[in-house]
C-alpha cells in the first residue's frame, strides 16, 4: 500500500511539479478561456444579426414585399445568405471548419489562437442565431401588434418590446451554449494551439504518463462546467422570480 502511494506521488511530481509542468496546464487553460470568451462575443454578434434578418423575413417579409423596392430585395438576399451560412456551419464538423480556417482561409495568420477564435466564433454564431430566433419567435404575436399599433416601426418594436422579452426566454439556452463551447474548444490543438487539452497531451508526451495529465485536464473542464452550471441555476432562479 505504501509503495502504491509512493508510486503515485512520484508520478504526480513527474507530471506537474518537475520542470513546473503544471504551468503548462495554466497556460493552456488561459488559451481555452480566451478562445471561449472571444468566440462567444463574435458568436453572439453574428447570432443577433442573423436572427434579426431571418425573423424579419419570416414576420415582416410579406408587408415589405407589398411595398416592394430595394429593401425587400436586400432582405431576400440577406436571408438567403444567412440560410446558406446556417446550413454549411451546422452541417459540417467544427474540427473541419477549424482546419479549413487555419490551412486554407487564414493561411497568413500564424497565431493559432486568433484563428481558433474566428473559427469557433463563426461556428457558435450559427447556433446562437437559432437560439435567438427561437426566442424572438416565441414572443406572442400580440406583442408585435401592440408595438406596431402604437406607431413603433419594425426595428423599434424589436428593440423596445420583443428583444428584452426574448433575452429572458433564451438566457438559459444561451448559457448552455457557453458550456458546450468551452468543451468544444478542446479540438484547438489541431491547429497548433496549446489549449488545456493540448497542454495535458504534451505532458503525456514528455513524461509517458497518460493517467495523471489526462485526468487532471478532465477535472479542470469538469470544474469549469460545474461553475458555469451553478451560474445557470442562479440565472434561472432570478428569471423565475421576475415572472412572479
Amino acid at each position: 500500500m505504501g509503495e502504491w502511494f509512493q508510486n503515485l506521488s512520484d508520478k504526480f511530481y513527474l507530471c506537474f511539479i518537475d520542470d513546473d509542468r503544471w504551468m503548462w496546464l495554466v497556460d493552456g487553460l488561459k488559451n481555452t478561456l480566451i478562445i471561449t470568451v472571444f468566440a462567444l462575443i463574435i458568436g453572439v454578434i453574428i447570432g443577433i444579426i442573423i436572427a434579426t434578418v431571418r425573423s424579419t423575413y419570416d414576420k415582416n417579409g410579406e408587408a415589405m414585399k407589398k411595398k416592394g423596392g430595394a429593401g425587400y430585395v436586400f432582405l431576400r438576399i440577406a436571408n438567403a445568405i444567412c440560410s446558406l451560412y446556417l446550413t454549411v456551419i451546422r452541417g459540417t464538423p467544427v474540427v473541419v471548419q477549424l482546419m479549413i480556417m487555419y490551412f486554407v482561409i487564414l493561411v497568413n495568420q500564424q497565431n493559432g489562437v486568433i484563428v481558433a477564435i474566428v473559427a469557433f466564433g463563426i461556428n457558435s454564431g450559427a447556433y446562437v442565431a437559432e437560439i435567438f430566433r427561437s426566442g424572438i419567435m416565441s414572443i406572442d404575436q400580440g406583442q408585435f401588434e401592440a408595438g406596431r399599433s402604437l406607431g413603433f416601426n419594425y426595428i423599434q418594436t424589436m428593440v423596445h418590446i420583443i428583444i428584452p422579452q426574448a433575452v429572458k426566454v433564451i438566457l438559459p439556452t444561451l448559457w448552455n451554449e457557453v458550456i458546450v463551447l468551452v468543451k468544444e474548444t478542446s479540438v484547438a490543438g489541431y491547429v497548433g494551439v496549446v489549449d488545456l487539452t493540448k497542454a495535458g497531451d504534451r505532458i503525456r508526451g514528455r513524461t509517458f504518463e497518460a493517467f495523471m495529465p489526462l485526468f487532471a485536464v478532465a477535472i479542470v473542464y469538469l470544474i469549469i462546467v460545474i461553475i458555469l452550471t451553478q451560474i445557470l441555476k442562479v440565472i434561472e432562479r432570478r428569471l423565475r422570480k421576475s415572472e412572479r
Binding site: 407589398k66 400580440g142 401592440a146 406596431r148 399599433s149 402604437l150 413603433f152 423596445h160 422579452q165 412572479r244
Partner: protein, 248 residues
C-alpha cells in the same frame, strides 16, 4: 370629401389562399369625427379583420383607406406616423409584461413623440386617474386582473393622443364581472367626443353608446343603421336571425 370624415374606406377586400377565402369582400364606409361606430356580427364574419385593416395590421388585398384625407396604403405613406394617431385595444390586452403599468403607458410617447419623462409620467398619471388605477402605476401586468389590464391598455393607447380608437372585442376575454368596468371607461371616452370603432358582442353598449351600428356577415356590411332602427327594425334576414340569437 366631407371635412368631417376621418376614415374613408373604399372597395376594401382581404382574401387568403389566392382568393379562396374572402375575409372581407368589398367594404365601403365613412367614419366621421366623433362618431362611435359599433361593428357586430357572427364570428368569422370578417369584422375583426376589417378593424385590423383600418391601421393595416392586416394588409388589404384590394381597396383604399383614407385617414385624415391621406391614402395610408400607398407606397409613399408612412404607416407608422398614421398608427400613432390610431389607438388600438386588443381582445387579449397585449400589455408589455416586462414593463410596469407606468412604463407601458409612457413608452410610446417618450420614444415616438420624444416627450420628456416628467411630462410623459404626468400624462400617464392623469390617464391612470381616469381609469381609476392611479394606485397601480408601479405594478406589473401579471399582477393585474383582466379588467384592470384592459383599462391600462386603453390608457396606453390614449397616451399617444389618437384621433380615433379601434377596439377589437375589448371585453370578450374578460370575466363577466369585469366587463362593466371596461365598458364604463369606453362610454366616458365616447361622451368626451372620441371617434371610436368598436367590434364587440356587447349589444347593450351598441344600443346605448353607438352612433351607428353595423352588421357584418360573410365579409360584407349587410346592414347599417342607428341603434334604435338597427335593433327595433332590422331588415336583413341574417341580421334578424343574429339578433334573435344574441338578444334573448
Amino acid at each position: 370629401m366631407n371635412d368631417n370624415v376621418l376614415i374613408e374606406v373604399r372597395g376594401l377586400k382581404k382574401h387568403y389562399n389566392n382568393g379562396k377565402v374572402k375575409a372581407i369582400d368589398g367594404v365601403d364606409i365613412d367614419i366621421k369625427k366623433g362618431e362611435v361606430v359599433v361593428v357586430v356580427g357572427p364570428s368569422g364574419s370578417g369584422k375583426s379583420t376589417f378593424l385590423r385593416s383600418l391601421n393595416l395590421l392586416e394588409m388589404p388585398t384590394e381597396g383604399v383607406i383614407f385617414f385624415d384625407g391621406e391614402d395610408i396604403n400607398s407606397k409613399e405613406a408612412n404607416i407608422n406616423l398614421h398608427r400613432q394617431k390610431m389607438g388600438m385595444v386588443f381582445q387579449h390586452f397585449n400589455l408589455f409584461p416586462h414593463k410596469n403599468v407606468l412604463a407601458n403607458i409612457t413608452l410610446a410617447p417618450m420614444k415616438l413623440k420624444k416627450m420628456k419623462k416628467a411630462d410623459a409620467v404626468n400624462k400617464a398619471m392623469e390617464l391612470l386617474k381616469m381609469i381609476h388605477l392611479e394606485d397601480k402605476a408601479s405594478e406589473y401586468p401579471a399582477q393585474l386582473s383582466g379588467g384592470q389590464k384592459q383599462r391600462v391598455a386603453i390608457a396606453r393607447a390614449l397616451a399617444m393622443d389618437p384621433e380615433v380608437m379601434l377596439f377589437d372585442e375589448p371585453t370578450s376575454a374578460l370575466d363577466p364581472e369585469m366587463v362593466g368596468e371596461v365598458l364604463d371607461i369606453m362610454k366616458d371616452l365616447a361622451k368626451n367626443g372620441m371617434t371610436m370603432v368598436v367590434v364587440t358582442h356587447e349589444m347593450g353598449f351598441a344600443k346605448e353608446v353607438g352612433s351607428r351600428v353595423i352588421f357584418f356577415d360573410e365579409g360584407k356590411i349587410k346592414e347599417e343603421n342607428t341603434p334604435k332602427e338597427f335593433f327595433e327594425n332590422p331588415k336583413d334576414p341574417r341580421l334578424q336571425d343574429f339578433l334573435s340569437k344574441v338578444l334573448m
